[in-house]
Symmetry: C4
Subunit: 316 residues, 4 copies
């Protein structure tokens, strides 16, 4: 295993040094760490899940909750409240009677309250009053959740699936490319790459972290795509390393992008990582930028990962 | 084509260097770039449109959605649900019957639920229960959208339509003027001008970017208007350039303003650009500031672009 | 008029130099400037007013709008819609009939929809459906406005009414004091004082601005009150100036406080200004901090402006 | 009492210097200060309480308000409004009559409006219309409050209960440990420790504050836990101090953590303090990080304060 030179002192990355042997960050930028020993029920974590879960799951959950709560109240009305306290019922058998209870519950929870079905006794009225306030609060919660889901800082960057070792000026460079996956404007972007690898210190494998110097590390305005370039020169710890070396040290590259979402003036952060096997040697990106028939610049976000393999000589 | 001297190293602006020959930024600060190859349906982009579209369009869309959804449910009630499951109907012909279905739908969706029309059968009750929860969620969404539309960082700056080459101290300067289009306070303003032009490098026209040094580049509090001044002296790449030179290099000036909206404590960003043909040579702005009869300072935002042409000798 | 020495170069404050002769900033931190020439109707300015107006005015406006809208719809129902399209009416004269229309409108707008009064004809049903969606949107708007009013960055600082020229170390200093008017925590506070005065340049009175150096200009955590101190020493433009000098140059001191509201993690800004006649010479603040019977530190916000006049010799 | 050397100039912390003799900051990061002399009723403080109170208390308060408001309106309907203006009542005695009034109120406030009970007279209709708009506004308020409660920057850090004086490199260090109590990601963390102690200046005990230098004071990403380390070397004011010395000067350590909550892109701040009696001498933390059977890194938040006492010789 080749010794990798220390070129840049690196701030602690937040992963400990004894985390050798696994992927530390998932491709979507979340940490590959499991939390144990925490209390199983925490309201704020439930809220966090409701904000970050998929729309399919969220809508499903809202609908299920609506059905379940109605079912529970229907049971109360059917089994506990004395007969005759729900006025206006029309039924011929007990199933229909339960359904009337169920639909009365639905009409109360949603505060529609048509009124054919209406509470006449005291206990029925009390439970219905409780259900209606519960409905209002639940609905207030959904209002907040919907707003929270949409107003989250929603920078989503589309990163190329592969990083490349490509020719750059007289030498070569580590390159990766990304574009804005949304239509909002991103401004004041900053990029940062951290190179992480194993090193044997006193017979113990520890994890090392070095920041890689970039050719350009900030741009004012992301209009098209941005290709981040780390030139592999004397200042780079990657100098003279081969594909096999990166594999041997279990290399992983962490990418951090910081930007401002112009629509909501929020600072947004995006992360991803490339393991050594996501790096393609001796290739270069094919441009995703063109000009359409009206002479307007275009960016084809579908071609973001398009690259072409070069003849072998460059990497030698 | 005159060679333009490099006075300031400029951060990448985010437009590539091979974008010669078109206006890069529209006057409202959006990029003149078309996105292709992206999935046609993305929820977050729809939300983004709903937040940024005009009020007229937004209100129209809400009303149309209301009518369309009611129509769809009315069709379900009319064609699918068995007759007699909607109690309380009053009609003499099938059109009136459909209208009763339609208005029942409206009363359910808006959760008014007068109750003359009310579901009596099971299938009717189920669909009505679904419609009411849909109505609640739609309304929750509208609540969020209305709040989102209003609470967006709403700095809107009124830029003068023309930039001027005006006399300044012993020489001349590039000037442009803006005022706050809103009544909220803007504080801690920072301005920045980037000069973009064509340059022929190795027979290929590439786009160059240079930051222009400003006389004053930050103010604490925007009370009236602010005239941004770039003195054309030895440190300026504009020195000795004429109107024809700017045209020849297809000059474009990008203006970036950063400020804090004091009402909501949000950082806001505003951008515009001036092409070479928006620059008026040898003119000066007429003041928009006055004092009214009570002795209070006034700013006339309607006069923001008012300028007067000077006799020709100054530019010589 | 004494010549005031230039000690600190000062960033443009945002008030022009030809604004001599009036108070530039009101005590509540708003600019004393009138805007003219702008379009009379701007949605965003209306929203801004609704967010910043007093609670009394806001509640009054909501109630009035409710009454007026109901009245307008009542007129439609009474004068335009054919008789008999509103079912369930109970009345003996036309006033009572109008009132039934009015209350039906109220029940529709608020989506209560009891149902005794209910639309039976087509035109009535259409208008009622429109009114109910209007009610929902109005209510959505109120939800957003209420949240917007409460969630505004709400740092409110209580400034002492007077600034003092007080003894400090071997010399004297300009002092002013403030405390948090709210119970939320303020952290990472920064203070800044700008001294503004008239100066006669080439027979024309212009307004000058200088930043005053502070003894301590930032604190980590505002627990009690903070006394801001500008020592009047060789580095101060106030050195050797008397009360009459300040009056002669029409002195005004602008105070800017920047902080982070810990509850909502928002950056907040607070401003005020002291004219020369708000400055008390040769006095010192009486402490507002004490210890109660349980030994807990206390701050008495009511005593914030308490100061005592000193014998005259200090200022000599 | 040993003289403590001044190693770092420290920014004012915001606690005055004459606050000797009590704990200044509570363990949850709030200041141990009582406010007096402020107006007893302030809307914004009520809102602040409603946002920060516990969920149990909040829900209880909502329910109580609902009951109380209904009770008040029931009283109006029962005692003030003439008999017969509330249509559809079913009762046999005055208690039942009052209950019908109460439930009509509940049905109006929640805008359910079944309609069996409905206002027929003018005065009843007016009060009901007022109650329904009140209900809508109250509900709008609850929507905002629920959203406000959930969307508050919710970094909650779990600090170890004890700080340790532990062996570090060749010497020893003050150490404390924390982890994220939430599942959201925290990025760009900065830590800062301020050491506060009594010092006798001219026979008066004053409170001194010094910032302690940290081994690492910022990390990019908090995945597991972070152990903050202040090495006790020549640059540390703690050098040569013993447990008794810290007690004698009534030492307190303030910890400030600044981070960015990645889910909402908000900057969050967390504070705590350790008094001299929360510091355990000559101990070291037991690791809370492990690897589960699938080879995934785990963090056991329950073990955060786990430490082991070392043999005595290290501290000598």
């Amino acid at each position: 295993m080749k010794k990798i030179s220390k070129k840049n002192t690196t701030p602690e990355y937040g992963f400990g040094s004894n985390t050798a042997g696994q992927r530390l960050m998932n491709a979507d930028g979340t940490a590959n760490v499991k939390r144990i020993g925490e209390p199983s029920f925490q309201l704020i974590n439930i809220y966090h899940s409701l904000i970050t879960m998929s729309w399919r799951k969220f809508n499903c959950m809202v609908l299920c909750t609506y059905v379940v709560v109605n079912f529970l109240f229907a049971c109360i009305y059917y089994f506990i409240i004395p007969d005759g306290e729900l006025g206006g019922m029309i039924y011929h058998n007990s199933t229909q009677k339960f359904l009337e209870d169920f639909f009365f519950s639905a009409q109360t929870l949603s505060t529609v309250g048509y009124g054919r079905l209406n509470p006449v006794g005291t206990s029925m009225s009390i439970v219905a009053a409780i259900e209606s306030i519960l409905g209002l609060m639940g609905f207030a919660l959904i209002t907040g959740l919907l707003y929270g889901r949409f107003s989250r800082p929603n920078a989503k960057l589309l990163f190329s699936q592969n990083a490349l070792i490509a020719p750059f000026k007289e030498g070569k460079a580590l390159m990766l490319r990304f574009a804005n996956a949304r239509r909002n404007s991103l401004i004041e972007l900053e990029a940062n790459i951290v190179f992480s690898y194993n090193e044997t210190v006193k017979d113990k494998i520890t994890r090392q972290f070095q920041t890689l110097r970039l050719d350009v590390n900030r741009i004012t305005y992301l209009t098209m795509s941005w290709t981040i370039v780390h030139p592999i020169n004397e200042e780079s710890p990657l100098l003279n390393l081969t594909e096999e070396d990166l594999k041997a040290v279990d290399a992983e590259f962490f990418i951090n992008i910081k930007a401002i979402d112009d629509t909501y003036a929020q600072q947004v952060h995006s992360r991803t990582s490339y393991k050594w096997n996501n790096v393609v040697w001796n290739a270069k990106y094919i441009t995703a930028i063109g000009i359409d028939e009206q002479g307007v610049s275009t960016i084809d976000v579908g071609k973001l990962n398009a690259f072409q393999q070069l003849s072998d000589e460059v990497t030698k």
